[in-house]
């Protein structure tokens, strides 16, 4: 199985952390908060679209919301394959970071 790309990993992890409340707006604000960058809506949806197509995430139709122009919320839920992929990427991270010398950043 191919490894997730970094943006896919971030979005997938956000969905996992948000549990029942994962839809576009919340995913974006969580990603924004944890990375410190302003991700455009488009930048969120490109990896999200790929995750859906790969079958790592599935969509659920939520309740219609007036703020959304009467549109339904579309919730995202992680699938068993998605969990596996997350687990795999976590293992890769740990394996790579293991025994790495401590990083000391120069404050400049």
């Amino acid at each position: 199985m191919n490894l997730l790309s970094r943006s896919e990993e971030i979005v997938l992890l956000a969905i996992w952390k948000l549990r029942e409340d994962a839809y576009g707006v919340t995913i974006r604000s969580l990603v924004n908060d944890s990375t410190g960058y302003d991700w455009s809506v488009g930048a969120i949806y490109a990896p999200l679209h790929r995750l859906v197509k790969k079958g790592l995430v599935k969509t659920l139709k939520g309740e219609p919301v007036p703020e959304r122009g009467g549109r339904h919320k579309i919730y995202y839920e992680i699938t068993p394959d998605g969990k596996k992929a997350l687990h795999q990427i976590k293992c890769v991270h740990e394996a790579i970071w293991q025994d790495a010398p401590a990083l000391e950043l120069d404050e400049s």
Partner: protein
Amino acid sequence: MKKKSSHFPMPPKSVQWLLSRTINKDIRYAAIGDFDEIFVSIAKQEGIHRARLWYWTQVAKSIPSFIADSFYWRFHMFQNHLKVAFRKMMRQKVFSFINIAGLAVGMAICILIFLWVQDELNYDRFHENTKNIYRVVMNDQNYGMKWPVVSIPVGPALKQDFPEILDSARVSDFRGLITHKDKKFDEIGAYVDPSFLEIFSFPFEEGNPETALSSPPSIVISQEMAEKLFGHENPLGKNLKLNNDLDLTVTGVIKNMPENSHFDLDFLAPFEIFEQRDRDPTHWGRFQLYTYVLLQENTSFKQLDTKIAGLLQQHDVRPGPQLQLEALTRIHLYAADGGGDIRYIYIFSIIAVFILAIACINFMNLTTARSSTRAIEIGMRKVTGARRTDLVKQFIGESVLISFVALVFAITLIFLLLPTFNNLANKQLSLNPHGDWNLILGFVAIVIFAGFLAGSYPAFFLSALKPVNILRGVLIPIRSGTKKALFRKALVILQFSISIFLIISTLVIFKQLHFIQNRNLGYQKDHIIIVPLRGNTSEQYEVFKNELLRDSRITHATATSEVPVLIGKIHMGYDWEGKDPNKESRMTEVIIDHDFIETFDMTIVQGRGFAQDYPSDSKEAYILNEAAVKAIELDSPVGKRFSAPIHTGMREGKIIGVVKDFHFQPLHDEIEPLVMFITPGNFSYVCIRVQPDISELSGTINYIESIWNKFAPNFPFQYSFLDARFDRLYRSEQKTGRIFGYFTFLAIFISCLGLFGLAAQISEQRTKEIGIRKVMGASVSRITLLLTKDFMRWIIVANVIAWPSAYFAMNKWLQNYAYRTSIGIDIFILAAAAALFIAFLTVSFQAIRAAVSDPVDSLRYE
């Protein structure tokens, strides 16, 4: 719903629309909802303006990702389509070959014609001032004709009198002998005003264009001339002799004039020399040279036209001739002396489209015919969720792909064909020598156009199939009876109509050429050698002629101002006994020597021909042709008073005879009134009639040359045959005929490829039927007939369509000739028979193969 949402501020509509166009449909719903939600929350907290600003910037930031996203997914599907297309291509080799070969040939022809048309349209467009350069022409109201020549004073006067005209240049071209030491070259050059080099952009290799022609004993030569004369030496400052009597110094070398210029001059000499030598350079009524003017930017030449129209009459020229401007860029294609012809541009462009259409029809037909083999694929795609637009895109994409493959073959083909084509069209075309992007874009446009055209019908037809039917095994009927087959039938009929149309056109062109070549011209054109008179041969013509006649192989020798195949000097102002003073008298005039009529074996119908026994013949005798007698309305012309204007005044005399009408102009025109008389010293050619014995010919020519060298050793001996000159008049017809012939052949070839494929397809589909018929006792010939019958019927319908259209088109073409052949039913029958025969050969190959196959094999198919 509406009320509910109106509580909330709405994001800008236009931006929302933009967003919805760019986002891939899978995520559109969710993403637009997110945008709206965030917009509303910002509007609540920070105000509507902030929210709008956010929306705008956010959309601008997001659009690149959305576009990239939708391309990403489209590309995935595209890869799949590509894979399928390639597999199809490889699996069905014959089918792909027919498709690609047909398209490649069609495209190659199309591109060749495209190159040719582009070259024709680009004549004289390389000058910096192209748009503002005009040629001054003389439109004579009396004749209703235009001549591109004006008199000497016109150019300078135009420049002086009209502020719109920035500059003018006179050009008088001639054939001149250039000598340097022992090297001699006979080339076409011109006397030109120094401004010629400023108006036109002929780049200099050496020398200064501003001063090159301003001091008289100077000459500018072409690069080619410079190399021929001086090799690698520096040509500047070298001395040349022009026509053995003028010493000139080379002051400049210009690059050879490009092919696509209506000038083809190898040297330029100062106009002053011409002016000094002219017997009356201030005369306004002697139209003899070209004049070009450079107009100010944005001048309306139409307005200027009305201003300059009457200039000649202000200088005492007889009423009639008016000055007019003719755009430089129109000379090649529109002017009578331009060499090109705009009609051929149209004709060949239409042929290009025809041939491409035939090739595309092949593709359409074969693809639809093959649809049964793809039906399952289409069914599967539809069942798994492909929409109709997806399938349309897939099929069009596939045919564009095949078009691109065909383009590769087409380009290879063009490389192979270009030399032949150049030879045929008398051009120096090459495939994109200047790296012209427009041309490449043109190719791509042709490919996409062909791909779309060819792919559109199968795409819409196949995508409309119902998956239920397909998967249940209901195949698409290929035989007649259904609407779909009707369309396909119509396409084949169209293809063959075009082919038959081309066959008929070619036959008519060749028939007319044959007619021209075998028409009784009223004079003998064979075994006559033409030698242009120069140097002493002109002055000592009588002696020269007698020397020639001493050889028994030469039966006649005479001299003339113009060669009988093309006499074109029209004059006015004749007078005769009983002339109506209000009547205009215009006639073609030719100056001849005594034995002209005998040499060309013309017939005198009244009176007598010129004879040495009557010394007055060379001073006052006239011979008219029948057309002239008719025009001047004289009942018994012989012996009547007649006079013609010559440069010393009126030449008074009598009509001594009438010659039977002969064709002194191309057969396009009616025979015009002609007057012939003798004025010694005004001859330009000597015409020598020799014994018809071919084996003696080269000896005779050597003899003539030896005499020539006695009289004019400084001039190279030149000769031509009258019949060759005659053929040259119809060169454009011959060229067109041959090009039509080739195109017809290719059109038939492509049509037959398609027919072949279709026949193969049909016999394959009817395998089982044929098997059963054979088991029931049908013979091979019966089955062959069964399979070919339909096609033959189509070809007959194609004939019915092609005949009237070809008749009208060719009738129109024949109207160009005053003397023309009849089209005749034989041509139509011949064309029909040829089409039927070729189609039968193509189809029967497949049919016989199907008919002789063992029924056991075909019935075991199940």
